[in-house]
C-alpha cells in the first residue's frame, strides 16, 4: 500500500483570479509583503498495490486524466509506502 500526495497547480502562464482576490485579503489584513499568491489543490489518497512502479502508473493516470487538466495545470506528487489497514 502506498500513500500518494498530489499538488495540482495552474501553469504560470495562466492567470489566477482566485489568488489575486485572496491577496487583496492579505493587504486588508495589513500584510504588505505578500506577493504572487497562487491557489492550487492538494489531494491525498492511498494506492493499494504492492510495487512502487504500479503505484506510480496509477497515480500518473489519475493525475493526468482526471485530477489535473494539462491544458492549464501541472501536477507533482510524492509516494510513500505505508502499512495496509
Amino acid at each position: 500500500m502506498f500513500k500518494a500526495k498530489v499538488i495540482v497547480k495552474r501553469r504560470p502562464s495562466i492567470l489566477d483570479p482566485q489568488g489575486t482576490a485572496v491577496e487583496k485579503g492579505a493587504e486588508n489584513l495589513g500584510l504588505k509583503n505578500i506577493k504572487h499568491t497562487r491557489i492550487g489543490k492538494f489531494i491525498e489518497f492511498s494506492v493499494d498495490v504492492n510495487s512502487k512502479e504500479e503505484a506510480k502508473n496509477e497515480v500518473e493516470k489519475y493525475c493526468s486524466k482526471l485530477l489535473a487538466n494539462l491544458i492549464m495545470e501541472d501536477f507533482e506528487y510524492t509516494l510513500e509506502e505505508v502499512d495496509a489497514d
Partner: protein, 232 residues
C-alpha cells in the same frame, strides 16, 4: 422524419428541464431525458448536454461528468458525426472530454455573471447556424462563473482558419470588441464547433430564450437550424 432529441441529466444539471420544455412544447419534437448512468442514447438524432453544476462542479467544472457512463456513448456518437450541443456546463464537459479544444477558466472579473449578452455569428453553414442570417445579432442570457475561454495560440489559429468560432460576444449592433466581453474569453469567444461542425459548445443559453412568454426568442434560431438541417 421528426428530429429526436436526447437531454443528458447529470447529478447537478439544472437546465435539463428548460431544454426538454422548449424542445417538446415550443418545437413540438420528441425528446427524452438520458440519465448519466445509462449508456443507451435512445436513438436520439441530437444530444444536448445541458447547463448546471454537474457533480457540484467539484475538482473542475465538467471534469467528473466527463467520465459518466453516458459520456462514452456520447463521445462515440459525436465521433461518428452525431449532432451534439453543449450549453454552459455542457460546453465545459465537451472540453473536458476532449471533443472540443481548450478550457474555460474563471471569469476574469472574479464574478459570476448573469445577464443578457449579444452574439455575432460567423459561419452560417453549420447544423447550428444555418437559420441565422449575416446581419443577425442574437440576444441571449449567460449565467456562469467559469466562461473565460482559453487555448494556446496554435489552437486559436486553427479555430479561426477553419471557421470554428461560431459565436462571439458583441455590441447590440454586432460590433465585436473587448468592451462587450463579459468574462475575458480570448477573441470574445462565446461558442466554438469542432472542425467537422457537428459538435457545438457555447456559454450562452439558447434554451432560456425560446418561449415568447420570457420576452426573448433568439434561441429559436439555433434550434431551428438544427431541426432544418435534419429536414434537408
Amino acid at each position: 422524419m421528426q428530429t429526436k432529441f436526447g437531454v443528458v441529466v447529470f447529478p447537478g444539471s439544472n437546465c435539463d428541464h428548460d431544454a426538454y420544455y422548449v424542445l417538446k412544447n415550443i418545437f413540438k419534437r420528441e425528446v427524452n431525458f438520458l440519465w448519466h448512468k445509462e449508456s443507451d442514447l435512445q436513438e436520439s438524432d441530437v444530444i444536448i448536454l445541458p447547463g448546471g453544476f454537474s457533480y457540484g462542479d467539484y475538482l473542475r467544472s465538467g471534469s467528473i461528468a466527463r467520465f459518466s457512463p453516458i459520456m462514452n456513448s456520447v463521445i462515440d456518437f459525436a465521433n461518428k458525426g452525431g449532432t451534439v450541443l453543449g450549453i454552459c456546463n455542457g460546453f465545459q464537459i465537451l472540453l473536458e472530454a476532449g471533443l472540443l479544444p481548450g478550457v474555460l477558466l474563471k471569469n476574469n472579473s472574479l464574478q459570476f455573471v448573469c445577464k443578457d449578452v449579444y452574439l455575432k455569428t460567423r459561419n452560417f453553414e453549420t447544423v447550428f447556424t444555418n437559420n441565422i442570417s449575416e446581419n443577425d445579432v442574437l440576444k441571449m442570457p449567460i449565467a456562469h462563473g467559469e466562461g473565460n475561454y482559453f487555448a494556446d495560440e496554435q489552437t486559436i489559429e486553427k479555430l479561426e482558419n477553419n471557421n470554428q468560432i461560431l459565436f462571439r460576444y458583441s455590441s447590440k449592433g454586432g460590433n465585436v470588441d473587448k468592451e462587450y466581453n463579459p468574462n475575458g474569453s480570448i477573441l470574445n469567444i462565446a461558442g466554438i464547433a469542432n472542425k467537422k461542425g457537428n459538435i457545438l459548445g457555447m456559454m450562452p443559453h439558447p434554451e432560456r430564450c425560446c418561449d415568447p412568454l420570457l420576452g426573448k426568442t433568439d434561441g429559436t434560431k439555433i434550434f431551428n437550424s438544427i431541426i432544418n438541417s435534419f429536414i434537408n
